[in-house]
Symmetry: D3
Subunit: 131 residues, 6 copies
């Protein structure tokens, strides 16, 4: 198995893990957690601002808070909402300047994820896949 | 002197402080700091994304990182870029959901600042006033 | 006006500010923000864990995230839920050890707020006063 | 080797790594680091608050600061202190609401770890295993 | 009373507050908190690294964690340890680049505090004054 | 393949990933990102402070912000700048006390990385390898 095969395998495992655990969490009888997940979905729906703008905001917020899973998720959502590569890098640049060099390792992984999305190597998280 | 007068006085003092200290910092012979300030200005200029979108991203990033000065600054810049009150609250809602209840005290101050901007009581920071 | 009088005046102004702005925010037609405030209230209601335990968790979370307003709020809620001074300091000690010396300035203000609560000098935030 | 086998293998490797490195750190002649580890152990011992309450506070603090290793550790300690699944999810809900949607990826891993603890698949970290 | 007089008055009030609350905290019978304060003092004593290097590290750490009180404290300690203005600005530049533009408001207050230290307008916190 | 072999393999893969992605990012026509990378390099060059002191500051900043990649990078740079093991642990102790027990998992990985650097098992990141 090559390093790249192993990597793709991990992306698939991760996507499967995310969907399975989200379901597991929503099956639990804790209303606060379930309402939070529902609120999270509502937050990015079109309103006064369109989905593209909201997802860009979510992406930059995830970068400055340095959460790889959240960054990957919003990169995929941004792409689905029509954000092109130049726009994506401008969002990255805001995250980098606001959050500082501590963001750089996450930027590397974000660009790698975007590259793989563009070449079809990364699985897109489903529309109801939180965070 | 009423509480409100005292408050407005403080806004004026703060704006004056910000401009004076930015100048003081830029006068210092430290090239890294000066280049960083220049880069910060460049980040929000129109490119693939327009100024409005970039300022909204800067606002949400400032909220989740919980910096009042940065939030006030980007609220004012957003308003100058044409963001209306409903759009501003949608940006606030993203910051709140991503960042959690710890953002609430900053949301209160952000709404207060926006209210005063709309009634003309708050001084707008100048265009080159960093952070 | 003495320094202490001025200080108490500020506590009163702050409490008034918090209640006024919470109302202002809830009057706004943004459903995500309103649902978040409602969820925040629900989070600390008695369930499998009692209110005292939940408020202690909220206090320690506020300390490690270093938000003075949230710390003051949860110190008051803890006291209302029957947390005594020795218990409060054990919660403080967890926040200090998990969060590090960067928490110390917030610990000073938390102890000052607790002292004033115990001598009746600090206004207790109302039960529905978020964050 | 199946994905699940590989995963369990990693849990075992991680536990072994943690114990080996803690010993390595304590063998080092740096008194500040050693005193900190000792203080960390003392923090969660029964006092005015019982161990269960303290571990719940440690768990919520770890969630809002988003450290997977610390979350796993406190989930295991909570379980040893008698925290049941419903109580654990209420602690999770506090961490989620205070810390926001950025906590969700860590919540997924926390629930997965709890699931495996309940089915006996996860190794419990030892009582003196820091952080 | 001029704005500047009011400001100096606040510095004095703050220093008095810090010393009074530290004493109040150390008088409390909580051994974890007291041991933490003692450990904090020990951390910056000369060892393999000299005091100047340790204080510079403490300053940069305080900047990226964005705590004004801690920054002021370490700026004063650095100055006592012989750090000159050019060296201080290089430490500031590291904090700024690692931590990003969100650090800028704290940098303004750090430079203002340093200016006042150099002109004798700011009170130096005492040697045993934590955080 | 033993666990240790697998581990070393991962270090090599990671180093290769870092260098490839840095190049990929610098090839992108986004001037803000490119200027930020250039500024990051400039920040740690000798000036009023020597490289050793600057790298120690960068290391402590990375620890309190809890970024494993950044910590590994600065541990390697510190070692190249002549920081010995006792000095490294004093820097670790500052990061631990300022940042709290949440830093412990990162400390374990930092000590492991240092151990492997000292025995020649870890690849040193190149001089122009950001963050």
């Amino acid at each position: 198995m090559t390093a790249m095969d192993e990597h793709d395998d991990r992306v698939k495992q991760f996507t499967e893990f995310r969907q399975r655990m989200n379901q597991r969490i929503l099956d639990e009888p804790n209303q606060v957690v379930r309402r939070f997940f529902s609120l999270d979905t509502q937050t990015y729906q079109a309103g006064a601002l369109d989905v593209k703008t909201k997802e860009l905001c979510g992406l930059v917020a995830s970068m400055v808070l340095r959460c790889d899973d959240c960054i990957s998720y919003h990169v995929a959502q941004c792409r689905d909402a029509g954000v092109n590569r130049a726009e994506m890098f401008e969002a990255f640049s805001i995250g980098l300047v606001v959050g500082g060099s501590i963001v750089i390792p996450h930027l590397r992984r974000a660009v790698d994820f975007l590259d793989r999305l563009e070449t079809g190597d990364a699985a897109t998280p489903g529309a109801h896949d939180h965070g």
